[in-house]
């Protein structure tokens, strides 16, 4: 797999990372060399190996269906970009 400049810009946009035009060239080069390194793994035959989603040989921990959290609006809303007693306030999102 190799990435061109357009792909790099697209991924940056999806990730909401602003990338200087001047940096795109060097980023492309760096990322491609990382991919090349990772692609060495393709030399191994993994036909009969199950994909691994976790290295822990455990099952998912679960909890009972109890209400044990919430009612901390004041705390939560301290992170709102603008002040309001009830809501997060963000720049207008128009559909």
């Amino acid at each position: 797999m190799s990435l061109d400049k357009e792909k790099i810009k697209h991924v940056a946009k999806l990730a909401r990372i602003s990338v200087d035009e001047a940096k795109v060239e060097s980023l492309t080069k760096d990322l491609n060399s990382i991919f090349k390194f990772i692609e060495q793994l393709n030399e191994l035959n993994t036909d009969k190996v199950e994909p691994l989603t976790s290295i822990l040989n455990q099952s998912l921990r679960s909890r009972k269906d109890d209400i044990s959290d919430g009612k901390i609006r004041e705390k939560i809303l301290k992170n709102s970009p603008k002040e309001n007693e009830e809501f997060f306030v963000v720049p207008k999102v128009v559909e």
Binding site: H10, K13, L14, R16, T53, S54, L56, Q58, S59, L60, R61, S62, R63, K64, D65, D66, I67, S68, D69, G70, K71, I72, R73, I76, L77, N79, K82, N84, E86, F87, F88, V89, V90, P91, K92, V93, V94, E95
Partner: protein, 489 residues
């Protein structure tokens, strides 16, 4: 009835087009707390009061799954006769929106908790099976409010993190009517199971609608458009009609249909492209590193299966067999769990067939007029059964029963009391009736002669006179018999 009569096509200049529809239904799981946090799921709370640090995506918080939500998904899967997967994985679905604080939704992609299943629809042209592709668990997003401020959007995260089941159908639906039947059936199954309350006004059940069209007879699918987040059956039907017509027009004008996400504008009754979702399908799914795979013991699945309630299809079969109802009656009476329970209570105490007829007639009309659910019926099942029995035994006529019914609605009294206190009992004593009829005949000698001379439609006149004199209480069957006998003589 023939299938052709109900076939749904869009007529273009150059022929007929079939509409192909698939639905992604988002059903809110009935649980006390959220999928990965202990915040309450209760509807209608003050904004942002049911939000934890997990729901608002504070750094370093770890999601822990709610075991009841998992069970609810399994129950629903079993109710859809679906394959339950012992192994499933939670993935991150990445997209950027103000009401999604994590920047990703925890969902299931390659390994959903439930696989293929089916839903049976009763259509006027027979039974139709709709395939279910999968059911997976995922988090709901928060709610954006755009109309509180001209330059800002307000965000309420109370809904953020509530468990949803996304139920994906195969593209098996062919008309707005089938979509209506499908949603109602799905809702009914989940309400029987107690896994989703199906309340569309509160957003507990909503759907993304995939629509494509193809020339009649074509076997390949056309390019589809996805209409996002439609929250009523009526809007789904309107959106499908608009969208199908739009696509046919594009095709007939030699234009290409873009595969895209659209929204349905309920005020203008049209669908339009959602430019903001241009990159929406680039979700970059990957397994959520915070969550291990979900492994279900077969025993848990088997136990849940054993504890399932009787579902509408089975109940319908039983109603036909046990109560002698026809398929249509049984279908209506099992459509809602509460309706079926009311009916069974009535049927245990009265004539089963007559009970069905009166429920589906007068009772439903009254509830409909008043906008009431059966659980709020002003007439209890016990009183209703007494009314049915009074009709069955001949104590009151059907006509009088309607009057008694009205009084029951207003007063909440039991029918026996009403019939007695208002003297509404049917006159069924043959001697009394004969006396009354003789009186009428002797007063109307001219009409009796005309009748005997062949003017037989006068029979109705005599019946009318008997009813008038008896205040509507004469037993109609008996009246007919006696009248016929006396007019012959």
């Amino acid at each position: 009835m023939s299938k052709e009569k109900f076939d749904y096509f869009i007529k273009g200049e150059k022929g007929k087009y079939e509409v192909v529809i698939g639905l992604e239904v988002h059903a809110q799981v009935l649980s006390k707390s959220k999928l990965f946090s202990g915040s309450s799921t209760k509807f209608g709370a003050d904004p942002n009061n049911q939000v934890s640090l997990i729901d608002s995506a504070f750094p370093g918080m770890l999601p822990v799954i709610n075991e009841e939500c998992v069970k609810q998904a399994v129950r629903t899967g079993l109710g859809l006769s679906a394959k339950i997967n012992n192994y499933s994985v939670f993935d991150r679905k990445n997209y950027f929106y103000a009401d999604l604080p994590q920047g990703y939704q925890i969902s299931q992609y390659k390994n959903p908790i439930v696989g293929e299943g089916k839903v049976l629809l009763d259509m006027p042209y027979g039974s139709k099976e709709i395939g279910i592709e999968r059911l997976h668990l995922e988090q709901d997003a928060g709610k954006s409010i755009h109309d509180m401020d001209p330059s800002n959007t307000y965000v309420d995260l109370n809904r953020s993190g509530i468990a949803l089941m996304e139920i994906v159908s195969k593209p098996d639906l062919r008309s707005p009517d089938e979509v209506n039947a499908y949603i109602k059936k799905l809702r009914s199954i989940m309400r029987y199971l107690g896994t989703c309350d199906g309340n569309m006004q509160e957003g507990s059940l909503r759907a993304d609608v995939n629509v494509s069209v193809r020339k009649e007879g074509d076997t390949n699918f056309g390019t589809r458009c996805e209409i996002k987040n439609v929250n009523s059956i009526k809007f789904m039907q309107m959106a499908i009609e608009y969208e199908a017509a739009r696509q046919v027009e594009l095709i007939e004008n030699g234009k290409k249909i873009d595969q895209e996400t659209r929204l349905f504008d309920t005020k203008k009754n049209e669908t339009r492209s959602m430019r903001s979702k241009e990159d929406a399908h680039d979700y970059r799914y990957f397994p959520d590193p915070d969550l291990l795979p979900l492994k279900l013991e077969q025993k848990l699945i088997d136990d849940l299966k054993k504890s399932l309630p009787e579902l509408p299809d089975k109940k319908k079969e039983r109603f036909v067999k046990e109560y002698g109802l026809n398929a249509y009656e049984a279908n209506v009476l099992v459509s809602e769990k509460e309706i079926s329970e009311y009916y069974e209570e009535v049927a245990k105490l009265s004539d089963k067939k007559l009970a069905a007829t009166w429920m589906m007639g007068d009772l439903f009309a009254m509830l409909n007029d008043r906008g009431l659910d059966i659980s709020k019926s002003p007439i209890s099942a016990k009183h209703f059964a007494e009314l049915v029995q009074a009709i069955k035994s001949g104590e009151i006529s059907g006509r009088i029963a309607k009057e008694v019914f009205e009084i029951m609605v207003e007063s909440g009294d039991n029918p026996k009391k009403i019939i007695e206190s208002k003297g509404m009992k049917q006159q069924s004593d043959p001697k009394e009736l004969e006396k009354m009829i003789n009186e009428i005949l002797s007063k109307n000698k001219d009409k009796v002669d005309q009748y005997k001379a062949g003017k037989e439609k006068l029979f109705g006149f005599f019946v009318g006179q008997v009813m008038k004199l008896s205040g509507g209480k004469a037993n109609p069957q008996l009246t007919n018999e006696i009248l016929k006998k006396l007019l012959k003589g």
